[in-house]
Amino acid sequence: MLSLLSFSTILAVIGLGLVAWDASQNNKQPARVLLGLGLVVAAVTWRLWTGVGVWGTLTGLSIDIGLAFLAGGFVLARRETQPSAFYALSALGFGAALAFGALGYVFDPAPIAGDEAAPETSVEDTYESFLLELGPDDEITEVLPLLEQYQARYERAFPEVTLIEDENLARFFLIFVPRDLKEKLMDLLRDDLENVDTVEGNERVEWLTPVQRAGLGYYESETELRVNDPRVSEQWGFDAMGGHAAIALLDDLEPARKARVAIVDTGVDAAHEDVRDVFTRGSARTDENGHGSHCAGIAGSVANNGIGIASLNLDGRFIEVSGYAALGADGFGTMEQIAQSVIDAAEDDADVISMSLGAFGPFTPKVLTDAIAYAQRRGAIVVASAGNSNIDAYNHYPSNIEGVIAVAAVDQRLDKARFSNTVGSLTRPIAAPGVDILSLKNGGDYIQKSGTSMAAPMVAGLLGVMRALQPDLSAEDAYEMLVAFGQEVQDSEQVGRVIRADAVLAAMLVPAL
């Protein structure tokens, strides 16, 4: 929207103002008219040069014309000269702006010249990419000479996000540059404070082949089992968060609707026997890595289906699970892919986005912050793992991003897991079981894994059920309920309270009982 009013608007208003001023004078001066018309031509040229896409440019041009004739009309009216022709042309300009704006909104064409020249593949062998965010009033053409000098090409990072939907994400570009020139070009762009807001890396990340670990022994539940899933007795974490009692509360309930829990990870094995009946949406229906499938099972595997494990998704009635490949099947991912997955999940109307990934660094990537803010504005509750370095998660993203529920892991004694980062310094800390957690293995089997990655989807699953019962539940209210009905433990100062599904759901269901 910021591009709609610009320098060209000022030029056009002054230009037509001068023309109108001259028209109202008895003593006509051709030079004044010429100057005014020259300014109008300059305004049109400026708009055409800097406009964002066809529809954006036409919309901006129409607004310039509408405002300029309106200003001219005011001048004529002040000089007691008939202004109706200027007002009519002004109305025409505004009408055209509305029409072009609507057309742009409907058709949403790739708005930046040069998109067509972008490479078909995301990264060539000799090229590497990074992310560039332009300033609010800046265009890619302003840095194009520098890009060309460094043999760089560009494409919009998130072409489906319009300026109207999110003016931050719409201004991110993927820049492809020869590997040996990348650092120099990034430095030069960082120095371009006039046109550039952010320059961030977009390196690929490797994920090693998962290794099955020997369990420390199965947790023996003393709780009455409420579901018929054969391996539920091995799920100490489900029991520890009050899963069985929660299932008892949900037994005769019909949710207001199914909640959508998005697993932003390595994809999900959508054919796995314990999740296939609730898998929906998302492009990542396979998972050659296994990490995403494990998380998906924790959040939403079908409970009481006589198969495998349980989650809070009783009979598959409360949650539908979707997968988004933030990390590729080969285990690599980029910042752009992660942000894109968050955007995709948000645009698929995810109620909860579960992110069992992250990194540690002094600067949180702005592209990630913007993508999460975009999802939050669309109503998604974003949950992220706190990280596994046994340090303060203050600099661990995305769990440190504003509004994100940061999940630490606890062990079978409900102590902080030895590896878990602490979340006491963050704004929305919470804890959940994250040691020796049994869940889905891609390909159809089951496997135990440990990590804060396992704790986050446990929280995401509970939030999903809460949204299923109360679809208008805000992220803030949901988090406050997790805390208010969570279990205070010895390490709560470091990891927050441990979630209690039974207490939260009982509180939500009291009015209905």
Partner: protein, 71 residues
């Protein structure tokens, strides 16, 4: 940056290899540790560069290893 440290197997997130440098700094090699050095407790000398990446491991500082050998 040149470091010396110890290769460690991290039994997290399915399992992976990291390096704990002298002084306790945890380093997560992008691309992993070469298979012939994948032994818990293996001493190594390496040249690494800090990098800006994300992963499911969420352990240590991600680094790109440009050279590594047993020490």
């Amino acid at each position: 940056m040149q470091i010396t440290g110890t290769v460690r197997y991290l039994d997290l997130e399915g399992g992976f290899w990291g390096i704990v440098a002298e002084g306790g700094r945890k380093l997560l090699p992008i691309g992993g540790v070469p298979s012939h050095l994948q032994r818990d407790g293996q001493r190594v000398r390496a040249t690494v560069e800090a990098t800006h990446v994300m992963s499911t491991r969420m352990w240590g500082e991600p680094v790109r290893v440009t050279a590594i050998q047993a020490h």
